[in-house]
Structures are given as C-alpha cells and as structure tokens.
Symmetry: C2
Subunit: 332 residues, 2 copies
C-alpha cells in the first residue's frame, strides 16, 4: 500500500453506547447481585428490569473508545470513530455527540435489529462505577464496517478489549489490526476490564503478542492477563509481548514500559473523586495524544494522568473542559 502522510492521529473502534448514570448505594449493588466495579453484559430483559431499579438518570454518550475519542479531540488530536448505532433516538444522540467533538463518524446506523446500546451505570458514594451493558446494535459491528482507507489515514488504530466479547467484532478487530499494520500504522489496545480479561485470557495474549504495539491495562487487568499476584512479574512479562505498555495503578500513578525503558509517573492530584467512569478511557486519550505528537513516554504518561484526573472529578465519562488548555496550564 502506498504510504501517505496521515491526516488523522487516532481511529478509535469500539462499542457505541449511551450511558445512563445514576447514584446508588452499596446495599443496592448487593441486592441486585452486581459485581461492583466491573462491566457486566446484560440482555434486553435484564436491561429493562435493572432500569426499573435505577434512580433518575442522566444520559450521555459513552463507550470506552468513544470516550477516548472525545478526550483525544479535547486535546486537539484529529480523530475518527468506528462503532455501530441503531437508527433511533439514542443513536442520534451518540452520533451528534461524537461529531460535535469533531470526530469523523460514518459507520452506517443499523436500520433494523436491536436498538442502540446502553450502559446502566450505578455510581456508589465511594465514586466507583458498576456497569451493566446491553450491547443492542453493537452486535451488528463486523468486518465490513472496518474502512482500510480510514485506518491508513491515522497514526494509530485504537481498539477496546470489550470488542473481544463477540466473534463478529473480534473479526472486525483483527481486520483493523492487519490493515493498520499493512499501512505501517500502530495498533493500540486497552484490556478494558479484569472480567473481560478473565473471559478471554489466552486469545488476548495471542493478540497482544502478535498484533498490538501499545497496550493499556490497569493493575487488576495486567495481573489477570498473566495470572500472577506480582505487579513486577506482570511488568516483566508484558515487556516481551509488546513495544509499549502503560500500566495504570489508580492513586499510585502509572508505570510506562517502552522497550528497555521503564518510567514511573505519579498520579495527578484530584480534589474530590466523584465518579471514576471513563478514567481509563481518558488516560488512554492523554497518552495517545502525546504519542501521536512526538512526546516521550514519561510525558505521554503525564498527559494520561491529567486527563484521567479531570474526568474523575465530575459525573460522566468525557471531559467537561478543554484538555488542551488544562494540560497547558499544568505544564506552565
């Protein structure tokens, strides 16, 4: 394939989801049998039943890679998004919001089949979020939705691990990785969730070893991936598997592995943690913005930390301020 200068920084591929956020308490999480802090997949009936148990909600566009696209755009990166909505009101909200941040988004909406995906997010007083995703129209994302010409225009193709839950999306995922590499672009992946890693440990390890240049994982995810209790052991493993890994440890900051280099980046200060929804997504946004703009690994980690600190200070998974201005202020 003839190589051209990329006019995009990152193409994000993921489940296109509208979040429904509501406050709750620990007793309700327990009564409803939810795995606190995790993302669980639910069907349409479960979604309806669970929604009935929810307090009044706030609806806002979400989806892990969609949130990362919003963060990247807020930093000033040029982004595109691939994900499947239905041709309904929630789909219209998702499309509006992702385009309004400046992202290219042209995946055709499904005109029949299940409605646009939603994620019922229960926020407990400790700011932890417990997520229940009804995938809806996302089940229709397949290899045909992967546009090779679009991937060739972007420096990085970024994929969320949640896609790995379904075979069609997995095929789309592998096609995207192949096409990005054929165009001499980089492939980045977030492991998304420790339970997601549990479900797909072996195939994730194969994938990372063969197709991933930049890996994002939090501590629980990387320990689960390598089935170890030792963060250091996991760190040594991941060095063999991919070129760059950003391993986040919440308030302990992050460790960035870049070939032979290892950088420890402290967490950014946060006045009050309100809602951790989107923390990992915004970390990836900051890191990838740095990576696609010539920053070294330590600075990429700092940008990730700044973006994550912003998003956990308020309700909702996407930044409420310009991350570009925020980062400039922190550097100044």
């Amino acid at each position: 394939m003839a190589e051209t200068n990329p006019d995009l920084d990152v193409v994000c591929i993921g489940n296109a989801i509208v979040d429904v956020l509501a406050q709750t308490d620990d007793a309700t999480i327990e009564r409803l049998g939810m795995a606190k802090g995790a993302m669980s997949l639910i069907d349409a009936d479960q979604a309806e039943a669970l929604y009935r148990e929810m307090a009044p909600g706030v609806e806002t566009s979400g989806g892990s890679a969609g949130n990362t696209a919003a963060g990247l755009a807020s930093f000033g990166s040029r982004v595109a998004y691939i994900g499947k909505i239905a041709d309904d009101q929630l789909g219209g909200i998702f499309r509006h919001d992702i385009r309004a941040i400046g992202a290219e988004f042209d995946t055709p909406a499904a005109s029949d089949g299940p409605p646009t995906a939603r994620c019922l997010i229960f926020i407990t007083p400790d700011a932890e979020r417990t997520m229940n995703t009804f995938l809806g129209a996302c089940v229709n994302l397949g290899p045909d939705d992967i546009d090779g010409a679009l991937l060739a225009r972007a420096k990085v193709t970024y994929l969320e691990g949640y896609l790995w839950d379904r075979d069609e999306a997995k095929a789309a995922f592998l096609k995207a990785a192949r096409l990005a590499h054929e165009a001499n672009r980089r492939v980045a992946l977030t492991l998304s969730d420790a339970f997601c890693v549990d479900r797909h440990r072996d195939s994730f390890r194969e994938l990372i070893n063969g197709h991933v240049d930049v890996l994002f994982a939090n501590e629980a995810e990387i320990l689960s991936l390598y089935q170890t209790d030792s963060f250091d052991e996991a760190l040594q493993h991941v060095r063999d598997d991919c070129a760059i890994a950003a391993l986040t440890r919440s308030e302990k900051g992050a460790v960035i592995v870049d070939g032979d280099e290892v950088h420890v980046v402290d967490a950014e200060p946060v006045a009050k943690v309100v809602d951790t929804t989107g923390a990992g997504d915004q970390y990836a946004a900051g890191f990838l913005h740095g990576l696609t703009h010539g920053h070294g690994p330590y600075d990429c980690g700092r940008l990730g930390g700044i973006a994550a600190a912003e998003v956990i200070g308020h309700i909702g998974p996407r930044p409420l301020v310009s991350l570009k201005e925020l980062a400039a202020k922190r550097a100044g």
Copy 2:
C-alpha cells in the same frame, strides 16, 4: 363531590420534556439569533438544525412542572404528574425518571404523532440558560388527560404557564382548575417566562383573577403581567388578583404576598452559580412543600430559596441531593 382526606400533596401538570444541556458562549447565542435567557418554541426542522450547532450534550428529564414534581418528591411530598410523552426512547427516559423519584405518572403515551418533546438548552459561562423547546408529543395533551379523581386526592394542583401556549392544553388547564376547586383544593400557577406572559397577558390576568390561589412569578414576569416598571406597583396589583403570590428576584431574594401580609425573604447563599436551569421550578417545589405541610409564608419562601440555591449550583434542572436533608441541615 364528597370530600376525602387528600393522600397526595401536589399534582403537577405540564409539558413532558427531555432536556439536552450543552455549554456554549455568548457569540454562539447571538449568531444563532436566540433570545438569551428566554424559552423559545421551535419546530422539528428548527430543532434538528439547532441540535447540529450544539456541543456534546447531556440528556436529563426536564419540563418545568416535572422539575417541580422532582423537587417536591425530594422534600418528601407525595406527588403525581400529568404530561404527554410519545411511546419512544426519550419518552421511556422521562417516564422512568419521574416514576423513579416516586411520582405517580399514568398519562398514556401517544403511540403515533410527533416524538417526545425535547428542550435544547444552551448554557453560557454566566450560568444563564437559553431554551429552545420542540413540543413534540406535548401537543397531544388535552382535557381527556385530566383525571378529576387524581386532582381530588391532592391538596394543590400546580400548572405551568407554558401550557397556555396551545388551545388544547389551555382547555386541559381550565378543566384542571375547575375540578380542583370543585374538590375544594387549591390551584397554583407559575407564569414560566416573561415572553410567555407577553404572548398571553390578557388571558393570564383573567385566569389568575378567576382561577388561581397561589401564583409564582419572577420579577420580569410580574412586571410584564401588569405592564409596569415598578415592582411595588406590580406587588399591589397582584394582591387584588390572588390569595398568595411568591415573587422571586434572583439574588435579591423573594417577596411573599399572603393576603394582607407581605414577607421579604433573603436569597440563600450560593458558592458558585453553574446553571440556572430549573431555579424557578425548584423554588416552587420548596414553597409548595411548605404550603402543603402547614408552614407559614416566610418559611415556605425559605424552603423555596433553599431548593433554588441547590439546583443552580450544578448542571441540570432537578436536585442532586435530598432536599429534605438539605432543608433540615439549614434549619439546624
């Protein structure tokens, strides 16, 4: 009609609307030709065109009387709501949210015709909100939706002035006032918006004089109603027209007229005004909670002020904390 003890405090009747809130700047308000701070009615095409100009939004149930119902429930009042949604995703959100706060809501959804109403709300850095309402399914609210048995169960029937924009809703409004009075209940009204008063000045004055026991108005609205520049003159007028009037003056507090008594209530302190959406609605909620729980006019005004101060401290038109607990803390 045989009188029974009311088992509800307030029935709120209004336009059932989902709000779409986004931040903007004054230049955009001007470029789009919007009347800053006002509520304008728009059609489906205008709604689509304006939505394209909006930043990414947050969706949340709104509607003036719906917000008041949510505030009342947050104080611990027993409430019901009457308003028209369509049988679509946004309607499902509205229904869920109003029921989740504990309100009775059984108005049948429209199964055809326009979709559920939405209000595109542009919030400027000065925290002022500029509203553009596509009434959608609300145009189908009519006298048949007014349930006399429900009104007879509530101490107060509360109506939003915005209903006065359409003849069918006006008929519903008058039917509700008549049935409430036949059951020896009180009728309350908010004038809603100075432009709304401009559109309907004469009929509003007739309505208030003949059918309204408790009137809510802000300074601009009451001045417009009596076509005067003098707040004091308007105050003297309103004493002749209805038993109780709560006249709000933003940071200058409120003046409560109750027959021969006049009470001046200072505004509650607010750390930072973020978004004034819902301020008047929550004021009415606090006042009506007091009124239906045996409080005197000054205390009713204070409860109104406490609720309004809470809602302008964050994005969105409904309280984020328990107003019952907040009021107890302020009193203690």
